[in-house]
Subunit: 414 residues, 2 copies
Amino acid sequence: MTELFNALALDEARAALSRHLPEKRPGERVSILDSLGRCLALDVKAAGDVPGFDRSTVDGFAVRARDTYGATESMPSYVDVGGEVLMKQAPPGRVDVGQAWRIPTGGMLPPGADAVVMVEYTEALDKGTIGITSPVAPGENIVRRGEDAALGQVALPAGHRIRPHDLGMLSAIGVTEVEVGIRTMVGIISTGDELVGPDQNPAPGQVRDINSYVLYGAVAACGGEPRLYGIVGDNYEKLARTLEQALEENGMVLLSGGSSVGTRDVASRVIESLGEPGVLFHGISIKPGKPAIGAVVKKKPVFGLPGHPVSATVVFDLLVAPLIREGGYPEGGIKAKMEFPLLAKITRNLRSAAGREDFVPVKVSVGKEGTLFADPVLGKSGLISTVVKADGIARIPSGKEGVATGETVEIKLF
Amino acid sequence: MTELFNALALDEARAALSRHLPEKRPGERVSILDSLGRCLALDVKAAGDVPGFDRSTVDGFAVRARDTYGATESMPSYVDVGGEVLMKQAPPGRVDVGQAWRIPTGGMLPPGADAVVMVEYTEALDKGTIGITSPVAPGENIVRRGEDAALGQVALPAGHRIRPHDLGMLSAIGVTEVEVGIRTMVGIISTGDELVGPDQNPAPGQVRDINSYVLYGAVAACGGEPRLYGIVGDNYEKLARTLEQALEENGMVLLSGGSSVGTRDVASRVIESLGEPGVLFHGISIKPGKPAIGAVVKKKPVFGLPGHPVSATVVFDLLVAPLIREGGYPEGGIKAKMEFPLLAKITRNLRSAAGREDFVPVKVSVGKEGTLFADPVLGKSGLISTVVKADGIARIPSGKEGVATGETVEIKLF
């Protein structure tokens, strides 16, 4: 059946997955204190104006701006002290023409006033009169009612990933719980026949499992909930049973490929035996990462990831991470929208083949004037140390046959 | 006592804190599965070579490279098939001159061989003989013993923040637990007299607490464990008691300032009443964020943060976050070392005062050729919406009296 599937371009692979996955996955309500890094499932609107009243941003005197026009240090404008605004109290009266009311930072602007003069620009003449030594414009030193968030306005849009400041906005508008996309639970099955766990001593010919742990970290880093299902060898029945269980218990399953032909064959046969629509592609025209398998069964994505750590990382970043991050909802924000958000000058010539997207681990440094430099990490893609030494990945688009030293390439940082 | 403290430069403020804080804080052992984002307390060294043997990276034939020199498609080099390497088994013999051994990807290189020919560059002549159609150099298609990590080599240095790939490296070298810096528990006390919680409806003159929630998120985002101690008004005794309790229960305390004079005064008096060395600075020559207070008591840092959300954010990022992140250990990695790691062209003129560092919330976009543009978000620093609209912060160094449109500034992304 494998023969039916040709290598797809990255965009085609994504489109194939999107066609078979539900557009929206369920959301859940969480306290705003648990919402950091999660994606909003719905627009969050302000249920009232914030602040709920015009508010002074300085300690000083609430005035009618008009009464201060022309005031200077040598020719102050004299006004009567009409009253005092106290914190957390509505002002007991209004500011009349020629009056000033004492007001603290954060105090509620009394009716009649349209500006606040900082205390530094006033001088006490007697108990009931002050001189204003500098004019203010209407609105000066005031936060207007609804200026932070206005009633009915979308304070944070659906799909927005919640950052620390957003918790402040949510609190400001009186929201204590939000509806966010559910965390994707991701089952990780290691299929390498020659693999042993990190707690074991490899016998001759054996090596410790690396990719399951890279994937465990990568799933957690993009907001999913990873679960390891251990190492399954090249036994078809056992792998099929484990995959079935993992699919039952999770929203997505990753098969972390072993490098031997036998294991690869078993893994791809098991994935291909899944129900409809089953395998969507077997092979993507990228390097590294070409042998990746993408499937959908019971509306859940299943990926067969290549055995080399660099390859597995690239495929994860390009195809798997976006599905986990979104939780089924569109993403917001500059960084989320741009997969390779930065540009850097490459520090050496790299070959590529036209018609294939190439991805290269790079060390990144900042030059004068802000130019970023991407220095390819030359290491075998079978080594985990190659990725560990890198700060990010550079992309060489499929139209190009390579890049020359000094050319600009798109990069993403890990 | 406040009068004794002049505004310190940022570096001086940091130096003052460092002098009074212990250089190392205790570490704890955690499973590698719980170590993501934590900082290593100690170097992690490889206890053996990884891989433990020379390993083929392709499916093919293990050979002596010398036997393939000069091979072409029209003039193949003919060699005898001497045996076969099976997965997870030591090869049962050695490769003699003029011999080739079948070997799978990941298989252990037999003694005698120094390279592997990919199966694509061989043709079967008869059962016991193959023709090699392309030469290999010694070492080709092989990962050498210890090439990923060599016995005794530092695989990950102390201070390194653990990323997903590092879990793979740790697994590869057989490490299942690591010693990491402890998570800093951070008590957050809100001191605004006019504040109410997000679950309450503000009466006239009241507003909901914003900063405690911004700080809660900011602490969590840099790896600390935040705890809210609620809103304490301008009652000296109550604030002193709450602060004492928070200091007892946490490794750091943040007083999130209210905006009224009364509350500010009480907060600074309470902080100043702490034990030795107590308040180290009251005021930093930065804008916004000038009124920040820094203190150390019982070897734990206490900060009085300004009431405006933008100011609180800036002070948190510059002074508080590094202490939480490090957990007492030095940080590694390009991003960690550079607080303002990127450069961008500013899109409008900004004034500043010489002798003061200025920080401006900015929206960031990527132009052609990779230039980043920083567009100042013009909003009052008392509004949370000002920070919510921004992608990051730009820094105008203290030597400058402003920046002109198109000038390059240092930025950090949120």
